[in-house]
Symmetry: C2
């Protein structure tokens, strides 16, 4: 991945087929060409000194343990393992500010390697931060100042095998360093799919998904990652756990659970028995247009009430719909499929705050036909105007590209961030309004234009996830402005009854609000977990510790 941006080093957001997009963004944020603000050169970055007493000797030790080329003290490796992809991570990287970094990186190739490395780390008093795809945008991967000892970054990507399948029983045992495409490819050869497709799918790993309680785009059909996990194998400084994949059990509490959402703070998740499913015969993505976001919300809720379950729902509010219109390609197909009916509707039917929805159906041909038709009649009742299949295909084509867009904005000194939460159906509309207002007030206070948009995705019978994107100019002190805005947005989410994160985890960025969310009892329990699994604070020190003082946000907000 890029050391200071999203994704493949030679890939950028595909602008060539979206001539209106960049002008729209620049205009929205009041950005001009003279704000161009390139990143420093990687060779100019000065990393903190290696804290290992004898880095080369330690390197040799680890290579002896794991094999040649399975460890590194190289500066570039230290740099790319020093943080994830949060705005502060990338802003600091672009500015050449790297205050903390791991001292050594290791690539284990098996569960047994991990057992050996952790025993080595315990003996040698070294912190360990597990590293998957490095895509976390909440700061979960950052080497924090609580790391008082040398830090080993354990890059899991050398462990990506499908080890065993019970096809009859829809079960697969996977190594947790497997990245999304490798998982789908290995399962796909056997006709199966995991069905977990987060935005970061191309880079992020199974272990990262589990450690952050991730949810993918098709979670409405296949569940969140925690719903798919049937059993885990883990290595802590104290125990090696190898649970069995029973379909269900009441033999005591689920011992795998504390690791789901543990953000690398308790130990290493090495292997996971995952529930998989045969690749569906039929996949269909269609578009609808609603007069308002609220109308779309009601339509999606009505689907749940009728037990009609799309695999994916992505309902975009006015802000995101405006952005989506500017994503349009000049190709005739999309022109006729989207632009024409949309414009017509906007004009003649009074769609003043339009909300586009992409909805997906997966299953047998019969099932997708049944679901699509049942959903169509519900959406129609709620004022949804069908936009056909092309908008769905357009969305699907670019579905992993959105994160690249931020790099353009950062090139011009801008700030762009996302904030996602979930709340119950009864509170969704209010929370949506509250966050839009918070960004709007925030931009006014910063005396700047800005962008905010939102989509509903990942829905449940009890509620859904709202995913906000906001952006504005960075000015002289972008990091401070970012944290002011982040605080406004998160305060609004918490006040309106949303959780700190629906699928991005706590990291450093949401930590100041965690104590409020889980209460004093929850905080004490989290502390008890940590003491039980990681008494020597070996793993990801400073993570999931609500009393940690955030340099900008302080502690215990909300």
């Amino acid at each position: 991945m890029k050391w200071h941006g999203w994704g493949h080093p030679h890939v950028t957001f595909p602008m060539e087929d979206k001539p209106d997009l960049w002008p729209f963004v620049r205009e929205k944020l009041g950005m001009s060409r003279d704000l161009y603000h390139p990143a420093v050169k990687v060779e100019d970055i000065k990393l903190p000194a290696n804290r290992l007493t004898d880095p080369k000797a330690t390197l040799k030790e680890l290579e002896a343990l794991l094999g040649a080329d399975r460890a590194s003290i190289d500066d570039f490796q230290r740099l790319v393992h020093a943080f994830g992809k949060s705005f502060p991570d990338l802003w600091r990287a672009r500015a050449g500010i790297v205050a903390t970094a791991p001292d050594i990186i290791a690539w284990p190739a098996s569960h047994e390697d991990v057992v050996a490395v952790i025993a080595w780390a315990k003996k040698n008093k070294v912190h360990v931060i597990p590293f998957g795809g490095g895509t976390n945008i909440a700061g979960a991967l950052d080497v924090k100042e609580e790391a008082k000892l040398p830090v080993l970054s354990l890059d899991m990507r050398g462990m990506g095998r499908l080890l065993e399948m019970q096809q009859d029983s829809n079960l697969a045992l996977l190594e947790t360093g497997a990245v999304g495409p490798a998982i789908e490819e290995q399962l796909g050869q056997r006709g199966f799919s995991l069905g977990h497709f987060p935005d970061s799918f191309e880079f992020s790993t199974l272990g990262g998904w589990i450690a952050t309680r991730s949810a993918g785009m098709q979670s409405d059909a296949y569940g969140r990652i925690e719903d798919m996990v049937q059993a885990l194998h883990t290595v802590t400084s104290e125990h090696v756990l190898e649970l069995k994949p029973f379909p269900a059990t009441s033999a005591g509490p689920d011992l795998a659970r504390p690791f789901i959402g543990s953000e690398g703070c308790f130990g290493i998740i090495t292997r996971a028995w995952m529930r998989v499913h045969p690749i569906p015969a039929s996949k269909r993505y269609v578009g609808y247009l609603f007069k308002t976001f609220e109308q779309g919300l009601a339509a999606v809720k009505a689907c749940h009430e009728a037990d009609i379950k799309p695999s994916l729902v992505r309902l975009q509010d006015e802000g995101e719909t405006e952005l989506a219109f500017n994503l349009k390609s000049p190709k005739p197909l999309l022109k006729s499929a989207v632009e024409f009916p949309v414009k017509k509707l906007l004009k003649t039917l009074g769609y003043t705050k339009p909300a586009i929805m992409v909805v997906g159906f997966e299953g047998s041909d019969q099932q997708t036909a049944h679901l699509a038709s049942a959903a169509a009649s519900i959406f129609k009742k709620h004022g949804g105007f069908p936009l056909g299949d092309s908008i769905g295909s357009a969305w699907s084509k670019d579905k992993y590209n959105t994160p690249y867009l931020r790099d353009y904005i950062m090139d011009y000194g801008g700030i762009a961030d996302v904030a996602e939460t979930s709340t119950t159906w009864g509170k969704l509309a209010e929370l949506h309004g509250a966050v839009l207002a918070a960004v709007s007030v925030g931009c006014a206070e910063e005396n700047l234009p800005g962008y905010v948009g939102c989509h509903l995705s990942h829905t449940y019978v009890t509620g859904g996830c709202l995913y906000f994107t906001w952006a504005l100019q960075g000015g002289d002190k972008p990091l401070e402005r970012y944290y002011r805005m982040k605080a406004r947005v998160t305060d609004a989410i918490v006040a309106a009854g949303g959780t700190l994160s629906h699928h991005h985890a706590v990291g450093t960025e949401h930590l100041p609000w965690l104590a409020k969310e889980i209460g004093p009892g929850g905080e004490a329990m989290l502390g008890a977990f940590k003491k039980a699994f990681d008494p020597s604070d070996m793993f990801n020190p400073g993570g999931l510790t609500p009393q940690r003082i955030h340099p900008y946000l302080g502690t215990n907000r909300g």
Copy 2:
């Protein structure tokens, strides 16, 4: 409930409409009238001395804390709170052997009461065993010899209120002492249902379900209890936890999870935010007959593969089908609906090892019709012969009565027990055969006739639950014979890849096998949980401790 048997004191298994049943059972087990073996009189039972220094003074203290009549040191109350409903529990009760009992019982009326009682218990160095319906059949409620201090039985049934509903979001906040009917009644008044119907539904409590990771009869549609829990409030000796019911969150690990399946060993679950659903418009139970149990298994699996989900599947093997035939009523309706086609099939089509299946569908009229018809064509392909609705109604009528049947057998000195497990689809048939063989070999070794039957219920895309019932004569030393048989059955389950329990919990009866099931790492983690949540071993001492030496089974079997 009866102090030495199942259910309401004045209710017995309804035999009057099943003239063939009792003769069938007696014949199967070789039982005769002269084996009649009544329980001792309750007034002849001598309880162990109360271990409180001054029981009356303590009683006054607790009454001052909770209100008059909210505590008791009465012998009958001590007796009925001393154990659950396992075979050993009831056999000892009938024989008048009560070696351990709680010293005082308290009935809190609110979360705040529980906070006060636990603080009192901590200060006064008293063990606490939470008590729900008292229906656990794995020994989870037994006062064990590890209880070195006086024991308080905390009877939660004074806390049964529906406290809050978010109907819009299918959420209900319930006190955990609510028994099944009280939950359904309170929710039903608002048009909702929890949908959790274990065999013990009439007596057991929400808290008991959560503490034992229960699954109810309709779990295929509405999930296991752990799938329904959205958030818990708990009181331990160290913390008070009050989590919020977000639809989903990635803000750290799920802190409620360790309590699900905690069997009273970590603390008290006081309130639960539960996912509920509107009462379905349509419910339909229909019967099928398969030539073999294995054929039925394949048919159910095919349903999952086609994503056709009944709310309930109960596929009975040859042994249970024979029992079911003897459950038939002499009423004309059932005669024509079941007996006639069954007999005809048996004769003309070679159904030599017939397997009856009851399958349920719930939802809108349209959905149940769609599901029933889709399932029918799958079952037909797998050789299922439709038996119509009456067998389903007959099953539904008696669905909570089966546990009463054991009392008849015990009246004649017999042993009857159930063993349930889950395993993956690929192993179900083999596990089924292995357990039948184990009972068969066991009966031969005991030189006695016996009964064994099994049904499949609670199915998942990864596998299902097998529920075995076995019975034989007790002889001179019924408890020792019981434990020999229990060991044979459980050894067979474990060897064939089944879990110790799918929904009855570990208790005392499965504890000797737990270390094998969860491995050394799991055992260490369980110990770490206990130390974190209950450092003074206040709660249910001896529970969930794999190294505990079982008086008959020893330790670390399997």
